[in-house]
Amino acid sequence: MELAIHNIIGEKLQTLLGDQYEGKHLEYDFMVYHIHKSKIAEALELLKTDADLNFHFLTTLCASHFPENKGAEFVMMYQLHNMYQNVRIRIKTQLPENELSLPSITQLWPSANWMERQEYDFFGINFEGHPDLRRILNMDEMNYFPLRKEYRMEDAGRDDKDDKFFGR
């Protein structure tokens, strides 16, 4: 039954997005759908509002940074949940470093508000249409995005400590 819904999701995304739907694959117990960044808002809206799909709950969203992967340095992940049929899916989209912006989904899920602020705070991803895009956990005066890989864990001003002593 669970496979059936994944086929329906694939077909519907294909019809709506055409080439912008970049396929799906199974990652452990999660079906991951790859969608081009230009269509991410439409895809998420379809998944939420379509009566057959009904992914009404946004579990979490998060960004990650892959500096070696040129042209797609950032990956944004959304995790949706259909509680009625108990199906979870993951949506992924890639972002190049020079155009770090995505449409905000706070209109679809109010819970995305702080989650998007958090990703802005740590990665500098600009969510267009977000009502209040400020830093949330770090201080406002901070002038870098700490979860990007180029930022060391230790204070950059110190030379007596080196990241190689901290695992990576």
């Binding site: 579990t59 108990n86 864990m153």
Partner: protein
């Protein structure tokens, strides 16, 4: 590439509209960051019209410790102590959640006995977490007696944890692959004493508070949230169930052999403070029954899976066997061979779905670790829930949501 600091886009909505509120004659009150009534570090800038809250703006991040960055620099077994400090009222659940995430990544099947031991520990910590929340609600309505007496049970649970691992609050119980040691005789004895004393203490607390006229008048219709809004705001756990949605990770996606146990999911109807209180009280009863079932059905067998590359060997073997010494050295130095991949694992924490999203590139540390912290997500609804209510109701709403600062700020 540092970005230049621009002060112009730092104004919060409250600061932008300050003049408008001043013209209306509202008083601006800083509730927090360290206010004794908020039980944690929460700042809310309130615009007060007399005693009515017209606008609230929360500021968070006061105890942010950059766990997601820290986790990228620590070997897998050293991340468990970080998870302790998320929801520090029920840290064993966080520990188990992390261990299960790594077990999912490495494809390790934990033996039943370890599963059942984990269930006992997790349900004990759920009871401890709910004891804190329910007694604090009582405390904030003026019923200090319940707080003082029922809190003894939490102490009993912490004594069990102390017997299990030596620590009380930040426990770091369990290991990747199973449990670190058997329950000792002393732990079993303490657990049995707890199982006889807890129902009595719970009944006493319920008699005192549950049908108390003052308590009911004070909490019914205080800070309600509808099921639709709760889902939209990403509520999970007891707060969502109080609004009437029967979603529980233990049932929806069973982990750690929860499918073996027979328990109910209590749900509320109105999503107000009284419902949140009652859902937690009923959950303690269910947790108690799960512990009883786990104790009576406790299977025999090993307490950890056969994963020598991840599970620390016995000290005796380290001194006498070559292989054990090698594995010990590799684990302590953080040289575990972890497959590439990404996993998400969720457990039902004290406050809702606690998720771990882990990306591994095969290196010695996670490439990226994201915590889905329930408190962080549902605390967004707090301004909406308290707008238009009295200040004292706002305090009660905050304590009934059971927002834990450590989990909020990570």
């Amino acid at each position: 590439m540092p970005i230049p600091f621009d002060a112009s886009n730092l104004l919060s909505p409250a600061q932008i509209r300050q003049a408008e509120w001043d013209a209306l004659g509202y008083n601006t009150i800083n509730l927090g960051p360290t206010h004794p009534a908020t039980h944690g570090i929460f700042q809310n800038i309130l615009q007060m019209d007399g005693e009515i809250i017209r606008h609230a703006e929360p500021t968070i991040g006061y105890i942010h410790r950059a766990f997601e960055k820290l986790a990228e620099h620590r070997p897998y077994n050293q991340i468990a102590p970080i998870t302790d400090r998320l929801n520090y009222c029920s840290s064993p659940i966080n520990n188990m959640g992390w261990h299960m995430t790594v077990e999912k990544l490495i494809g390790c099947q934990v033996p039943k006995r370890a599963d059942y031991m984990r269930v006992i520990i997790m349900e004990l910590s759920r009871i401890a977490d709910h004891i804190i929340c329910t007694t604090i609600i009582g405390q904030d309505t003026g019923a200090t007696t319940g707080f003082l007496y029922f809190f003894q049970m939490r102490e009993k649970i912490y004594e069990i944890f102390e017997g299990l691992c030596g620590a009380r609050l930040t426990t770091n119980i369990g290991r990747i692959g199973g449990m670190e040691r058997e329950f000792t005789q002393d732990v079993w004895k303490k657990l049995e004493t707890f199982m006889t004393e807890f129902p009595v203490a719970l009944a006493e607390f319920r008699d005192l508070v549950e049908r108390n006229r003052i308590f009911m008048d004070r909490t019914i219709n205080c800070g309600p949230i509808s099921a639709d809004r709760a889902l939209a705001y990403g509520f999970t756990g007891p707060n969502l169930r109080a609004a009437g949605i029967d979603y529980d990770v233990r049932v929806a996606q069973p982990y750690s052999s929860y499918e073996d146990f027979d328990f109910a999911i209590p749900v509320g109807a109105n999503g107000d403070t009284y419902d949140r209180f009652m859902v937690r009280i009923e959950e303690m009863v269910e947790s108690f029954s799960i512990i009883q079932q786990a104790m009576s059905k406790m299977p025999e067998g090993p307490i950890h899976a056969d994963v020598p590359a991840f599970y620390l060997p016995e000290k005796q073997e380290v001194y006498s066997k070559m292989e054990a010494l090698i594995y010990h050295f590799k684990i302590v130095m953080g040289e575990m061979d972890v497959p590439k991949g990404e996993v998400y694992h969720a457990v039902e924490g004290g406050n809702g779905e606690l998720g771990f999203y882990l990306i591994s590139d095969g290196g010695r540390t996670p490439y990226r670790l994201h915590f889905r912290r329930p408190c962080f997500i549902f605390y967004q609804a707090y301004p909406e829930m308290i707008t238009g209510t009295m200040l004292s109701d706002a305090i009660l709403t905050l304590s009934s949501l059971n927002v834990i600062a450590g989990e909020l700020d990570a």
